[in-house]
Symmetry: C2
Subunit: 648 residues, 2 copies
């Protein structure tokens, strides 16, 4: 029984329970699921007393491994939807004891093979015992190369001491993220290796917690010890824990309750620990962990419903799209339809045009002067409409040229002009603005040629071409725009890019609704373009070197690439953009852009990330190149635009 | 005119001269080459006064770039064999000055395009001006992707202060290797990007110099200022410089003389500097740098001739070979032929067998006791011969079984036995030693099943099989063997592996005569096997974690992979092996083995390199996996033996 569906959410959230070994799996499920109310059990598959080296060799032994029941005791769908295999927690593949190491490897492989035979969705691997995990990782990596669809959840305690000691030779584990990072790097970022976080009673800093939301966390195991007791004696969680659990819900992380009941036990069940083999599995008594489950369900139910825009964007979360090439290609009707629905964007344009009209023509001369306004890249007319509304709002007289290169959109424009009776004001021009021979010069040039990274749809090149027919004192709306980047952890995006197994996909920028990411440092401006461009340097080539300092309390972090945004100054104080700290609310026309790194880089506390971005221009295309030079140099990505470019 | 051919060397060495801009290239060559005696000139191709931004745009300018003469002034072969293009040294692509940056990029691209048009073999790129070189590298990387066969030599001063300051944020360049490393990493280790080292008057420490012999150094530019003056007033070099130049000769590095003459000028030529455009190019006067050239020629001529073994191995230097699979495949006659020529190896075996026979049978019983000796893997009989000679030498009586699985070698064995009249002593057994049903047990088991990495040709598995027919107190020769590894810089090998553009080649170990490599730390033992194996643990799986500390005076270093060796204890103090510090002299049966790293790793002074090696055994194959975990974790290479394995 899921925790319930949250309004607008496509998926439900589930809550599991960690159990000890019990060799009657059907009864274990009846107790914990049918009767206890949990959705699944994280249950050991093999008797924990088993050690391969103690089995009699050759003689005597039946050769039957001590698994909890045969595959027949449950139906295949019961196995896969109700059981997560818990790998024996005694295994220690990096022990100094060679016998223990070899027993551990044998057992691990046998248990995973059994789980795979049962078509379980996941196995929970015990946390590495020390700070060294190379042999464990080697064995898991061998398994990963052979296993089909099963996920392996590596258990990792959510632990980071706030000790800022830079003693990297210290043997004590100060940041469990480091352990996870070593393990997954050794396993080559395998997409079926993910994390089960052990949530403890004390939590690391918020920045440090944030890193995990860019990693592949599949489950959060909350020990009953981490709960507080409320006034009525029932379990509850601290505010910080509540916030964390809510974030887990938002990031599709399953919750698992673990441990013995230690809070407000209902009368008569005080000695019925779930994890006790002696428990009375009679289905009559309330499950001793039920109050923990109820509390988790309560946290889920009380979450605010998703706003409409986020509901709309749910299906796009972390889904990589190639950026549009509106200059080289013609947009389709569906695309225009989507963008035209973004009311907020056109309100901002209308406000900017109002201000420009008022600056251009004083109130006293409003009836005398006709302002020539050109919408370049008019599409199906939303900016023409916004301009006309601005004229009406300010009482200014307008003459509009609507310039559009897409002949299909021009058809719509013509019918719109007739339909709305704009014939006396609006002239439609079917031409590429870069080559149009304008009959007069414009007071105001209005365009919306911006991509997620500002200039990436070649607004600079288009407006340079259109600038010829703007009066010397004319106004461009937008008057400038700036791109921004910030380093992010994004293991899901990285694995999606990597799955193509080529360089081209690593050297491409993607439009994407970022969700399972950790933003590691504030964004910084990259390239700015100003219109009209009155400077002597007409080049649209750019080069920017940036240095990001990741807060040291975050700890070490993995940088999979860079999130990119833009902010555009339309006119004076009217702006629009998607840079997170200044983003225009409720605007949905642009997702972020993502620039991947071919080799993700770990940045340690105290060292900074130095990044270089180039905007390069050739005769027929514009492209970006990017690289990092600190903490260590990467290769330069997308050299000569070999993988990704925008056609002129 | 080459510096001369050294006995046994296949290639000659050449010496060039760096010149200033002179727009009459034929005269420049006549002066420096025909008359001056140099082999080639490193000459600027373009007037150094040229700046693209100062050219009149559109009007007036002829549009002709100020190159030194047209392509017609020399024949194509003269251009390519006598001229290395020296790129304008004023360029600075990482300047704060944007105009200078853009002028630099334009000029660099024009000059390289011209050099490419002339089919020059190489261009000399000026050294980066500061510690930052990302934009320079970006531009060179773009060029590298387009240029055909030309090499780009990046000029790098041979500079490393002995300051052990760990202040990595220091802006002053303390180690020019770091600059080179950044540049080549940004250019993705491109094989056409190489190094021209500027040799200065003071030299860094020997360890630090050693790094460069693993890098792609193509030229060493020696400034006249770096020469000392000998008693007769002529230029000479310090002992350390002489040693370095000799090493350059040994590593096919061309020498270039640069600068103004400052030593022992012949009378009357005191003001005739080579690098002075006013020089009297009349061919009558001796070239003012001739005495430097003569000295370099003298250093080359006085080198010791190459020993015979090294001459034999010249063609194999840095040439990657797949290891033999003598168990799965049958060796060919040619292979036996080669190995049987290695007298040193069989002398060691004979010495070991002598000792074993003497230990086995006291002098007094020599005539009474017949020792049963089995040669397992007898091949075409060299160990049979060595055993017989040992018997003769010690006066012991022998009965020999020669066990061989290759039926083709058995043919030879039979004829050998007849030819030599060994019928009464030697019994030939055509069988795989693992499955042979021996008629009696052996006193001594002699085998030579070792690969470059000791156990890599499955000696352990074979001898485990043969151990059945060794007496309980019997002797195995070899009695044990150990593999060794050490981290190396090996850019040539790395690029050869990379050229296959797949993972498989990076996960393969290669047999290779290592030459252009830097050995960064002493080798350490990895896996040891002892025969007969009387321990309870019969597994031949192994796991070893090693930590290498690179001497801090070396500076940062690039680890491209690991050189592997073995040492075998034949019997008591008689050993043979190829581990560099204990290698058996004049033995040529084994080259080293090379384990590449998919991602080469930079190790900084003070941080250590932690390496893990596994020997894994499956039902049908044995393979190695390897990874590093410090300074940062790599992926585990060759998981499950997916790329490289040895068949059982």
């Amino acid at each position: 029984m899921p925790l319930g569906e949250r309004s607008g959410h496509k998926e439900s959230r589930y809550c599991g329970v960690e159990t000890e070994f019990y060799d009657d799996i059907p009864q274990l499920l009846a107790y914990n699921i049918s009767s206890g109310g949990f959705d699944f059990a994280v249950a050991p598959l093999m008797d924990p007393a088993y050690r391969p080296s103690l089995m009699e060799k050759g003689t005597g032994g039946s050769g039957v491994l001590p698994f909890a029941g045969s595959d027949l005791v449950l139906s295949p769908s019961q196995w896969s939807s109700h059981v997560v295999g818990k790998i024996s927690s005694w295994i220690d593949l990096d022990s100094e004891d060679e016998i223990l190491r070899m027993d551990s490897e044998t057992t691990l492989k046998q248990e995973v093979a059994w789980a795979s035979h049962l078509s379980l969705q996941a196995c929970l691997l015990p946390a590495p015992k020390g700070t060294s995990c190379a042999n464990y990782a080697r064995c898991v990596n061998q398994i990963l190369l052979g296993v089909n669809n099963m996920q392996l959840w590596l258990r990792i305690p959510l632990l980071k001491t706030d000790d800022d000691s830079m003693d990297i030779n210290s043997n004590s584990l100060v940041d469990s993220w480091e352990l996870w990072n070593s393990f997954r790097m050794l396993c080559e970022h395998h997409s079926q290796l993910s994390i089960a976080l052990d949530v403890l009673s004390s939590l690391p800093s918020a920045n440090s917690l944030g890193r995990w939301f860019g990693e592949s966390v599949r489950a959060a195991i909350i020990d009953t010890d981490s709960f507080l007791t409320n006034a009525r004696g029932y379990p509850c969680l601290s505010k910080r824990h509540q916030k964390l659990i809510t974030e887990f819900f938002n990031h599709s992380v399953q919750i698992v309750i673990s441990g013995k009941p230690v809070h407000g036990l209902p009368k008569g069940s005080a000695d019925l620990a779930a994890n006790n083999n002696d428990s009375n599995f009679d289905g009559v008594h309330r499950h001793p962990l039920r109050s923990y489950l109820d509390y988790v369900g309560y946290l889920y139910q009380r979450m605010d419903p998703l706003p409409e825009q986020e509901r709309f964007e749910l299906g796009y979360r972390d889904f990589l799209q190639s950026p549009l090439q509106p200059l080289m290609d013609n947009l389709e009707a569906q695309t225009y339809e989507t963008f035209e629905k973004d009311a907020v964007k056109y309100i901002q344009y209308q406000r900017a045009i109002c201000k420009a009209l008022q600056d251009r023509v004083p109130d006293g001369k409003a009836l005398m002067i006709t302002t020539v306004l050109m919408v370049v890249g008019a599409g199906r007319g939303p900016l023409v409409r916004a301009s006309l509304q601005a004229a009406e709002e300010t009482g200014r007289k307008l003459k509009i040229y609507a310039v559009e290169k897409n002949p299909n959109a021009v058809v719509t424009l013509h019918s719109l002009v007739k339909l709305e009776g704009w014939e006396n004001i609006v002239t439609i021009v079917s031409s590429d603005m870069r080559y149009w021979d304008a009959p007069e010069k414009a007071d105001i040039l209005v365009s919306e040629l911006l991509g997620s990274f500002g200039d990436n749809e070649l607004s600079p090149e288009c407006l340079d071409g259109a600038q010829r027919f703007l009066k010397d004192d004319g106004i461009s709306i937008p008057s400038s725009y700036t791109s921004f980047i910030q380093p992010i952890t994004a293991s899901k995006l990285y694995n999606d890019v990597k799955s193509h197994k080529d360089v081209v996909h690593f050297e491409t920028a993607y439009v994407v609704k970022l969700h399972n990411v950790a933003r590691l440092a504030p964004s910084q401006p990259v390239f700015t373009f100003t219109h009209p461009n009155r400077s002597t340097n007409k080049s649209n080539q750019r080069y920017m070197k940036l240095q990001f300092d990741i807060p040291s309390e975050t700890g070490s972090s993995m940088v999979h690439g860079f999130a990119g945004y833009f902010d555009a100054k339309l006119y004076k104080d009217i702006h629009l953009g998607i840079e997170p700290t200044t983003a225009t609310p409720n605007m949905f026309s642009w997702f972020s852009i993502f620039f991947p790194l071919r080799t993700p880089v770990v940045v340690h506390p105290g060292s900074s990330l130095e990044v270089h971005f180039w905007r390069c221009c050739g005769p027929a295309k514009v492209w970006y190149e990017w690289c990092i030079t600190s903490p260590s140099p990467s290769s330069i990505q997308n050299s000569n635009g070999r993988s990704y470019w925008v056609g002129l």
